[in-house]
């Protein structure tokens, strides 16, 4: 076994992994983090991988996924190929700063931290531990609570690297930043990426994140992102999840939003074996707004599970969630969303909706929108719908000479477009529309230039 890797066996011994690598996991990191890791290990010992008895995870079987043999890379392997040779994102009009993360670890070891226009820092989290311990300590582990969720505990205990972004106060970044997460290995691999994004007061930034699998092996990822959006900041993130059927991805995103901050969070789950997206939002200053939009498309035996929790901690905040699913074959999905409006959070406006299109009688969706309101002067609504393609609309299209298959595609694309239209970075919106169109058509949905067959 290589010194920097460990094999995780079916006995699920993630704890032993920590013990065996205690030295490596606690060296060259700030001391607060050493303590945090140790606490997280204890939390994980208590919580473990969430099973179906956990109300928040009742529709997904993650324990089976975690109970496989994986290689875990704690530090980057010597990479014998050039990622740029096989992967180059080819969205022509997208002028973005591109960052690669390979198997959860920041790829560009020659330049682990970049300073972009206006003093923006973008790079490796491990490097940020070293260079900017002050910024890290202020935010790291502050929004993702390892005592509440075993997967948060596991990530906090074991994740060594990921993406770090710091946007200083008042900086408006014109170009989006694109983060490409690649999974590529010649054996089953477990990765944990940890990301920290700090958006300064009045700052504005747009992020595009793409998740790809580049080799056919089994992948298990337990990724976690914490975002701090200071007052008057604007943050848009568009994520395209495009992994193969043998992958299991858990993505947990935690937002702390201060007064008048605006966050738009778009998640397009194009493809993936099993996907679990956790979105936690705390609206912590008056005038804060969070818009979360999700689109997932599943077929065969895929499962996509979205969990959201929006905490209206103070008055005068807005939140808006719209998640839509298109489920084919015998695939399944879940939406479990909770909005909490606290006692003094008057004038809250909160909406939540989950609409699903089931294309076969074997496809399944569990949807559970929940509102918990303790204030009395609020505007809130939630709802869910599960249906088939509209027969009237089908006949209308057919009566104009459009065949059944094309008519179905038009209606499915229309259903999906409501989410795609929310994406504000235009080249990305167009590319995603194209990929979703191909996906619904049953064609391969990988990007043109990516030579690997990831689906």
């Amino acid at each position: 076994m290589e010194p920097n890797t460990a094999l995780l066996g079916p006995d699920n011994d993630y704890l032993r992994l920590f013990d065996a690598n205690r030295g490596k996991l606690t060296q060259s990191i700030p001391s607060f983090l050493v303590d945090l890791r140790k606490e997280a290990v204890e939390s994980f010992r208590m919580l473990g991988i969430p099973g179906k008895k956990n109300e928040n995870y009742r529709y997904i079987d993650l324990q089976t996924s975690f109970n496989n043999t994986f290689r875990k890379e704690l530090q980057p392997k010597n990479i014998t190929f050039n990622v740029e040779d096989i992967f180059r994102c080819d969205i022509p009009e997208l002028d973005a700063d591109v960052i690669l993360v390979l198997n959860g670890i920041y790829y560009d070891t020659h330049r682990p931290m970049r300073e972009l226009e206006g003093g923006i820092l973008a790079g490796s989290l491990a490097e940020a531990f070293r260079l900017f311990p002050g910024i890290v300590e202020k935010h790291f582990g502050k929004y993702a609570d390892h005592r509440k969720d075993g997967l948060v505990a596991l990530n906090t205990a074991l994740a060594t690297d990921g993406f770090f972004l710091y946007v200083p106060d008042g900086i408006q970044m014109k170009k989006p930043i694109q983060v490409i997460n690649l999974l590529m290995s010649d054996e089953p691999t477990f990765s944990q990426q940890r990301n920290l994004l700090v958006i300064g007061k009045g700052a504005s930034v747009s992020l595009v994140v793409c998740d790809h699998t580049l080799s056919p092996e089994k992948f298990l990822s337990n990724n976690l992102t914490e975002v701090f959006a200071a007052r008057d900041s604007r943050f848009e993130i568009t994520r395209l999840q495009n992994e193969h059927n043998a992958s299991t991805q858990v993505l947990s995103q935690f937002y702390m939003q201060e007064a008048n901050s605006l966050v738009n969070n778009n998640t397009i789950t194009l493809h993936g074996g099993m996907v679990r997206n956790n979105l936690y939002v705390q609206l912590n200053g008056e005038g804060a707004e969070n818009n979360a939009y999700g689109l997932f498309i599943t077929d065969q035996g895929q499962h996509v599970d979205n969990y959201t929790f929006v905490d209206h901690a103070v008055a005068h905040c807005n939140s808006n969630q719209l998640f839509k699913g298109v489920l084919d074959d015998y695939s399944s999905g879940a939406f479990n969303g909770r909005i909490l409006v606290r006692k003094d959070s008057q004038k809250t406006v909160a909406y939540q909706k989950n609409n699903n299109l089931l294309l076969t009688s074997d496809a399944r969706i569990n949807t559970k929108p929940q509102l918990e309101i303790y204030a009395d002067d609020v505007k809130c609504s939630h709802g869910a719908a599960v249906g088939q393609l509209d027969k009237q609309a089908m006949f209308y299209l057919q009566s104009r000479g459009i065949g059944r298959d094309e008519a179905r595609l038009l209606l499915m694309n229309a259903f999906a477009n409501e989410i795609i239209a929310k994406i504000q970075v235009e080249p990305i919106r167009e590319r995603i529309a194209e990929l979703v169109g191909k996906r619904l058509r049953g064609e391969l949905s990988r990007c043109h230039n990516c030579t690997m067959h990831c689906c």
Partner: protein, 250 residues
């Protein structure tokens, strides 16, 4: 062009059409009138291929082909157009995408290459001018948020785009004010030719002031009970449908 022989159809087990016979030749305009519930919209739906209706007997030949064997899309590709009484709103499908898909599907069926994007847009603009439809409407989602009149204009616009051999307009006049009625009728008249035919289904004579029919048929209780020239429409306007009902009773 169209030949209907002894057509019978059911809806949810109830017989609505009880033996329809009708001949329509190229260049002709036929009006089908009748009281509510007489089977007018059922006839239109059966001809367009709505699967809600079950044909139990009879034959419909269109240009030598057995229409009842064809799927709704193939009927459209053969040249049949149904103007809907209640056009369907389809949020998220743009008029451009809808019409481009329709035209290229029809072209494919006829062994023609698809229109290029620019040729298509030129063609669409041209047809919008012919039927006087606001291009603001044609750049929106199909019928989404359209007023009643706008929806009907949009039906006529689609008809102009698809250039059918036989247009069946199902109560296109319902819900229209007089100005909208004039525009809709004007569109229909511009599209009339010696090679095409039109069946106008209407409850009121009003539309027939603008679209002058060659024949007027009265449909009552699932059968065509009277056929005459355009003067029949005026008689119906004057006397209502009761005298026909009474005649039938006797």
């Amino acid at each position: 062009m169209l030949s209907i022989h002894n057509l019978r159809a059911k809806v949810e087990g109830k017989e609505i059409l009880k033996g329809i016979n009708l001949e329509v030749k190229a260049g002709e305009v036929h009006a089908i009138m009748g009281p509510n519930g007489s089977g007018k919209s059922t006839l239109a739906g059966v001809l367009a291929g709505r699967d809600f209706f079950e044909v139990t007997e009879g034959e419909v030949m269109f240009e030598g082909k057995n229409l009842l064997d064809l799927s709704p899309e193939d009927r459209a590709r053969e040249g049949i157009f149904l103007g809907f009484q209640y056009p369907v709103e389809i949020p998220g499908v743009s008029m451009v995408n809808f019409m481009k898909t329709a035209i290229n599907e029809i072209r494919k069926y006829r062994g023609k290459d698809p229109l290029s994007a620019s040729d298509f847009l030129k063609y669409m603009r041209l047809k919008a001018e012919v039927v006087e439809i606001d291009t603001k409407l044609t750049s929106r989602s199909v019928n989404e948020g359209f007023s009643g009149g706008e929806k009907k204009k949009n039906e006529i616009f689609q008809m102009a785009m698809l250039e059918p051999r036989l247009a069946i307009l199902d109560e296109t006049d319902s819900g229209l004010d007089i100005d909208a009625l004039r525009v809709v009728a004007g569109g229909v008249n511009k599209l009339r030719s010696k090679d095409t035919a039109t069946i106008v289904i209407t409850h009121y004579q009003r539309l027939l002031d603008y679209i002058v029919p060659d024949y007027v048929h009265v449909l009552y209780d699932g059968r065509i009970v009277r056929t005459s020239g355009k003067e029949l429409a005026l008689e119906l306007e004057e006397k209502g449908y009761d005298w026909i009902k009474q005649e039938m009773m006797q």
